[in-house]
Amino acid sequence: MQFLDAALDIRDLASEESDVGDAFVTLCAHAGIAAADAVCCIELREHARGESHQEAVALLRRVRPDGRALGNSLNTLLGLKTRAGYSAIPVNAEMRKRSKLAAERLVTAARDRLP
């Protein structure tokens, strides 16, 4: 949740949203990763360790009943994080919107599972 708040703060404080697009997407991805770990800990009593993206997505997909959709959201975020990290061209508005939606879906899923 803190990562998502930070992403939204950075976006809101920037004079041009596009100037901080890569940072915004990266923070959304971190929010999604943290939320996915929380969901897995609550539901499966374990979370992904190490750097493997695919391992994290596969573990999240085991969660019932919404693991498949959540795994897709995490995969979307990891793909956008790769794009933000590798590319010299800043992410565009569509990518920023998609990363926000995916991060919100994962953060909401984690929040809804908290006692």
Binding site: H53, Q54, N75, G79, M95
Partner: protein, 201 residues
């Protein structure tokens, strides 16, 4: 080869298995590109003693070759050709996609053939304009490609995605695209043809 042996022996055997001829020790050192000649020479002598490598005098030098009559030779050759096997499996998987990419290319260390245990498998994919970036079918294809490539190799797969509409602005401005075009292995579609078309527009 590193899957079975992370040692210099594995690199030397892999190099000899991929070659059809005999090599000098220095050629082997250059071919594997990461060891001292002295270390390679010791490995070659040991492998000759073990019988998996044969040596012959050639003038003042010695030539080394994989002993293809050895019972282990077919397995060593198989391990040495893992990269080609991976490329073949990736092409088969991509050919079955319902939504074809304009280009799908494997680049980075896996394409160059120098990937290690901790290397990522880097893919660059170009999505057609007709496909929405969030399209379920499209996203599932990419996720499945990453999952399969990771399962086949043990290396994490990462897809760098571009839309067709972005390509015009990328040429000459995107180092990773230049690297992919230079060293990449085409898995589906033709990224090189696509960029040529963009250049002539």
């Amino acid at each position: 080869m590193e899957v079975v042996t992370p040692t210099l022996d594995g690199d030397v055997l892999g190099f000899l298995a991929r070659g059809e001829k005999a090599f000098t020790g220095r050629e082997v050192s250059r071919g594997i590109g990461r060891s001292s000649h002295e270390g390679v020479r010791r490995v070659l002598e040991r492998l000759v003693q073990q019988g998996i490598v044969v040596s012959e005098r050639a003038g003042t030098g010695v030539l080394f070759q994989l002993n293809r009559q050895h019972l282990a030779a077919p397995w060593i050759e198989g391990l040495a050709s893992l990269r080609l096997e991976l490329i073949s499996k990736l092409r088969d998987a991509a050919a079955a996609w319902e939504t074809a990419p304009l280009g799908l290319i494997l680049f980075g260390s896996a394409a160059r053939g120098d990937a290690g245990v901790g290397s990522d498998l880097d893919f660059l994919v170009v999505r057609p304009n007709s496909v929405d970036p969030g399209d379920d079918q499209w996203r599932s294809q990419l996720a499945e490609l990453e999952a399969k490539a990771t399962a086949w190799t043990g290396n994490d797969a990462r897809v760098l995605e571009y839309g067709e509409g972005e390509m015009g602005g990328l040429l000459g401005n995107e180092p990773v695209l230049d690297a992919a075009l230079e060293e990449g292995v085409e898995i589906a579609g033709s990224l090189r043809q696509l960029t040529r078309m963009e250049t002539t527009r």
